[in-house]
Symmetry: C2
Subunit: 464 residues, 2 copies
């Protein structure tokens, strides 16, 4: 005698949703658990983070960017319905209304669930302004976006490209377009590119981008996408000026896609992302789970939630949800806000809090900046880097680290990320036993040099 199978319904077929489905499937047989996943688009389990490299010609796509196709998932016992959009969540009835986007398909139908996983992702921010929907204006959020952009790039030579927004996706797309031979201008509303860094570190990025031939215009408030007689984009206008453009990329970041969840009454945080508990259950609900770009996560340093859309988090969330739905136990304790990015040979990384973020949650701190090299100074290709470190006053606890440099700079941020997770003081960090050999590091690793200066500064501040 077997009990009827429970049903797990997943909304969204990308990293978080399909990781959850795959993990649950490994733990529970088909007889125990039916898994049904709805995806609006044609693809599942793909790397949106790879799109800039596809556009830049470093990666073939979209096939290479798809980790698992719908067919693969189906072969493993997950009923994936692509081109199918969930349009309503009925919590009281424990069911979702799914619409087949194929006009000749099934139309709308209700599906009951025992466990529901919301993995609806994020949507790119699109400012409401004239011309924003004109041909030649591209987002880079989905593989379909990537394909449309490539068609645009291949249809006619793009002499001038304008990227709106100098965050991660903006600078990565600037690199991609430079590699395709375009002249690139990046328009940024703020005072510096990379608002994920402190302004002094953002300035280093700006200088380096300039050296790479990328113009960055800051304080640029875009007012209009100017179109030509053919209706295509011709330029981007700001309050102050106009920048000719054959192509425009929107790199303004993304917001959690939680309209559906909010209509159902599920709780969201300050950034519009769903709020979950340690097990990735939506707060207050036993059998509703959420993960990926549609949730807010606990920042272990600030103690607040934030919205950090990153594939690496989405995959972890999915694993945790799948383990729990599958009858195991796992938690996602939170993040420390690590991010790393590159523009050509420039590497940019951060973890923990920026100065403004630390101040906003009430920390008093010392901030120090040092210059060092990636390898022993005498070793070939020792490249310079700048490391900035924030440490709390009194306790000396590490609060954040930012790095801007060349090859060998970016992933050094991981040392600070682990130290933050462990609540380490900068004094303790000065004695960390990091890997040393001339091809890998100076005898004092740059992170240790920063920790030494931070520790000395905290001590000096106590004496006053």
């Amino acid at each position: 005698m077997t009990a009827a199978a429970r049903r797990m319904v997943v909304i969204g077929g990308d990293a978080a949703g399909m990781s959850a489905a795959s993990r649950a499937r490994r733990l529970k047989s088909r007889g125990e658990l039916e898994i049904l996943a709805f995806e609006r688009g044609p693809f599942t389990s793909y790397s949106a983070c790879g799109i800039p490299y596809w556009v830049g010609g470093l990666v073939n796509g979209p096939d290479e960017l798809v980790a698992r196709t719908p067919e693969t998932h189906r072969g493993r016992g997950i009923d994936v319905r692509t081109h199918t959009e969930v349009v309503e969540i009925d919590l009281a009835g424990q069911r979702v209304l799914a619409r087949d986007l194929d006009p000749h398909g099934e139309g709308e139908r209700w599906y009951g669930f025992d466990d529901l996983v919301i993995a609806t992702g994020a949507r790119p921010r699109r400012p409401g302004m004239p011309g924003i929907d004109a041909p030649g204006v591209h987002g880079v959020q989905t593989l379909d976006d990537g394909r449309a952009l490539l068609e645009s790039l291949e249809a006619a030579p793009v002499e001038r490209a304008v990227v709106i927004g100098a965050g991660y996706i903006g600078v990565e797309m600037a690199e991609a377009l430079i590699q395709r031979g375009s002249r690139v201008t990046v328009l940024e509303r703020g005072d510096q590119p990379m608002s994920t860094l402190d302004p002094d570190m953002g300035r280093l990025v700006r200088d380096a981008m300039s050296g790479l031939g990328i113009d960055t215009v800051t304080g640029a408030e875009v007012t209009e996408v100017v179109t030509g007689e053919d209706g295509r984009v011709r330029a981007v206008a700001t309050k102050m000026s106009e920048y000719p453009a054959d192509l425009v990329i929107l790199g303004l970041g993304v917001a959690p896609e939680t309209g559906l969840a909010q209509q159902a009454g599920l709780p969201v945080g300050d950034y519009g992302g769903l709020l979950t508990d340690q097990a990735m259950r939506v707060r207050g609900y036993d059998n509703i789970w959420a993960g990926g770009d549609c949730v807010e996560v606990l920042d272990l340093v600030s103690g607040r939630t934030r919205h950090i859309p990153l594939g690496t988090h989405a995959n972890k969330h999915g694993q945790v949800i799948g383990s729990n739905v599958g009858g195991g136990y796992a938690t996602f304790p939170g993040v420390v806000g690590t991010a790393v990015s590159k523009v050509c040979d420039l590497e940019i990384a951060r973890t923990g809090l920026l100065e403004a973020e630390a101040a906003a949650v009430g920390f008093q701190f010392e901030a120090v900046t040092i210059e060092a090299t990636s390898r022993a100074g005498y070793y070939p290709e020792a490249r310079p880097m700048t490391v900035k470190m924030l440490a709390e006053r009194r306790t000396g606890r590490l609060l954040g680290t930012q790095i801007v440099g060349r090859e060998g700079a970016g992933k050094r941020v991981d040392v600070a990320a682990v130290a933050l997770t462990a609540g380490m003081t900068v004094e303790r960090m000065t004695a960390l036993d990091l890997g040393y050999a001339p091809p890998f590091s100076p005898v004092w690793d740059p992170v240790l040099v920063a920790a030494r200066k931070a520790a000395a500064t905290v001590r000096a501040a106590e004496r006053h």
Copy 2:
């Protein structure tokens, strides 16, 4: 009215000794503290770790390898006496006997001290066997060794070179000689190269070295350096065979140079290194300090002392000693046994305990090995790497990590080094917020993949 200056005497003018001197000098004026440093050789503050790269032609030497010359130190108020060897420590009399090695110099003289810093370093192991002192047999411990080796290499073409010992210095020298166009054979007594790795990981190194054109002969017990009629090295003989050689490098590691200290009755550990307290005072003595390659350090994972001759530790020891002698306060909490090395494009790293080391101190553990790539699989130059991880049974605490791979593999060991320092479990490590972007890492960093497998294995073991 000023008190008479105290005197700090330093034995050994390399990393630990001169870091201690420099740090103390920054904290105390000449009127407060006189600093006298004795160095047997001609150089101070140099990077012995850079010698393989000098020999390989990547680095100019020896000037580039000297961080601070005796003149620089003197200009900063440190009285450096080069070519001067301390031949006796008189603890009761608080004085040392120094001998001027210049036959026309001052001869022997006693110098009193208030604080004594022992930084006598390590000496290369030289097996007592026929021919070991023949021309063409070279150690690579000092800059003079490096110079002699280069002269030998430049005097006549070296078609065949034999390296005795396949530890760090042995494999680095193998790389250097390959780069100079020699055929290189490495003779290793043990079953695998890199006894600092578990045998299964050492095998990967051996295979990779073979691919680089370096022959590694294991189980090779060297019995004799065979010389020709000219007295120069002609071959190296083992119990089983004979290997033709125009040049022989001794890469058998080093032992703490503590004869002087032991004659004075100072305490040494199992490896012959001086034993110190947290502040780097020699145990049981208030004003005798020791640091660098002549001390044993506390291994924070095993709870025992070990001898780890590495410039990065020597510099930290010197900083700690100099701070304390200078009236400040600092400690060296210990090491986790991190080391990283490369042979051509092969990167080799470890931290924490090997299987045999963990077992020897009574740990029960699970060991797992995974394969992963340095970047997202679809990104160009994603290079494979193997990560092995040891976790304690029951607690799941990380005990050690070993990595063998190509570009981007080695420094990933730092994540495990910090996690070990923090006493993290592999379960907690699975959620670490490490930097992710396709050029830097797959969506699951290789260290996280290993941690996931280790955590699952520890859980599974508990169920039995």
